[in-house]
Symmetry: C2
Subunit: 331 residues, 2 copies
């Protein structure tokens, strides 16, 4: 069981595994590579190995039975979850310190039964299925009043924090609202307008950092990107929660994601990357100003001391230049 | 020239190189290794290559002339600085966005003339010299009213963001105060006491996360560590600025750093790590509650999507366990 501890000095949350200690050699970096089942190795996410994962939560499987072969996309509990969705949130003080119990949920979405198939290899129809399972899991988790924020994300490649090679994403249900995207409600309080709607209007007019527009989404390199070639995918329709995405938007987004991830893999020479869904908190007093969006962050640089200590990102690539490059290739 | 841009959504600073774009292959990760001058390669930080760096700012050289051989520690401007210390801080608006010019300073401290000698290999006396040059540069930079925060740090190894192998640290002088350590003045405002002094008292009494005490410093694994085996070195004397360290403390700290970095290299199997000096802002209205300290963060894990998006760190090693391990070895 883990504890969610508050760092009084740096003012951030840390989920600490309170009862175990990984040894130095247990860390993926120490092995300088992912757990790739090369030549006869074992992968618990592969078709046929369903019994090596916890029983599935949901799956897209046209004909077969739960936890058997024949699935296309599969949602399972994360075997190494830092969180457990049991009981209530309890605060424990220890002198000047305090922590919460690790209340929450941590799931894995396996996006293809075949090992070695990557996200950008999936068909648009398969990506639609993946998005629909994200939506289903989001709706289900948000029906639990103890969960306050749902984070859907993908870590692809070692420099993005992936520890398994098989194509997958993750969903975390947190018992509190992280500081992430706190600028959205702040801007609304200050201006009585949606920041992302204003941003879309400005970026579309100036075209400086605009990559392309589809029927429902606008792709930009943001004004202050933390990572080189960072790209945001913003729905044009003002909408707070990812789960309120409609069928047409899912269809469009699947095509955008396939194309963008393919271009990024190609142009940036097979980089590690993260794909993150930013959305509004759930089960809390609603605050205006949220507008869901996605970010794709290639991880060409490691966060160094300035980033982790001072929280100032050093980005050697101007977004005006990365947008120009991506605009040419995406259009 | 770079721009310091504010991310309205995520509420953080980004220093963006506004006029250049690194190509994918320019990133160290793409090369999967440091620029190590193996077998006849070239290193600009090596003795004899003084002309390949900008002219030095200061150096410890018992007999020789500036920018010639014969030095032991050398401070130079960072050739690839994101900052320039010229003119005044100017804010520029661009629609809803705004940025500052890249006003600031970025220096490199080369800690030994020999390639391949690592920080933990240096003698305590040499580390004293390095610390004294840090102190001298801190004092000099803080005399410039345009600089508001001085960040001294080391990136060691590829997973800590190092791009050159030769043993060095860096100093950045920033034109604003980062959010780093904002919990210190906050705790003082709330409690009228110093957080780090209170923390030292509690950690010393409980011993749960205490590694060891020397004459002047206390080493702990912090209650909510962002990284496995993260260690803080806290001066027992309440003191806001690193540059107010006295001679005896420098002597003691040099020995602590040599021992701790050696232990970390040994026990964690040659990890990448950052070493960071946390200190009070300069040239701003003084706020009570700052207490300088150092942190050593081994980088055994890559920050994944949860860390970079939600700002929640997942740490699989409890500090009580890492402290027990380090306590046994350090004492």
């Amino acid at each position: 069981m883990s504890e969610i501890r508050w760092d009084l000095v740096k003012q951030n949350w840390v989920a600490v595994a309170a009862n175990r200690a990984l040894k130095p050699n247990d860390f993926p970096i120490a092995k300088m590579g992912l757990k790739a089942p090369a030549a006869g190795g074992f992968c618990p996410f592969c078709e046929g190995n369903e019994n090596f994962t916890p029983p599935e939560i949901t799956a897209y499987r046209p004909k077969s039975q739960a936890n058997e072969k024949g699935w296309l996309v599969r949602a399972i509990p994360n075997k190494f979850s830092a969180f457990t969705l049991e009981g209530e949130l309890v605060k424990t003080d220890s002198g000047i310190f305090s922590c919460y119990n690790g209340l929450g949920e941590h799931e894995v979405i396996i996006e293809d039964p075949r090992h070695g198939v990557e996200f950008h290899d999936l068909s648009p129809e398969r990506i639609e299925t993946v998005l629909n399972i994200f939506k289903e899991r989001y709706q289900d988790l948000s029906s639990d009043a103890r969960i306050k924020y749902i984070q859907i994300y993908k870590n692809r490649g070692m420099f993005a924090g992936a520890s398994l090679e098989h194509c997958h994403s993750q969903i975390v249900g947190l018992p509190f609202v992280p500081q992430e995207n706190s600028g959205l409600p702040k801007y609304y309080r200050d201006n009585n307008r949606c920041l992302l709607c204003d941003m879309l209007a400005q970026e579309t007019a100036s075209e400086e950092r605009l990559i392309c527009k589809t029927d429902h989404f606008t792709l930009i390199c943001p004004y202050a990107p933390r990572f080189p070639y960072e790209t945001w995918i913003v729905p044009q329709r003002h909408c707070e929660h990812f789960a309120d995405i409609n069928e047409e938007e899912v269809r469009d987004l699947a095509r955008v994601l396939k194309k963008l991830t393919g271009v990024i893999m190609d142009c940036l020479d097979n980089p590690s990357y993260n794909l993150v869904f930013n959305t509004a908190p759930v089960n809390v007093e609603p605050e205006a100003g949220y507008h869901w969006y996605m970010e794709l962050t290639p991880r060409l640089l490691v966060n160094a001391a300035v980033e982790i200590a001072a929280g100032i990102y050093m980005n050697p690539v101007a977004p005006e230049l990365s947008a120009a490059m991506l605009r040419e290739i995406m259009s």
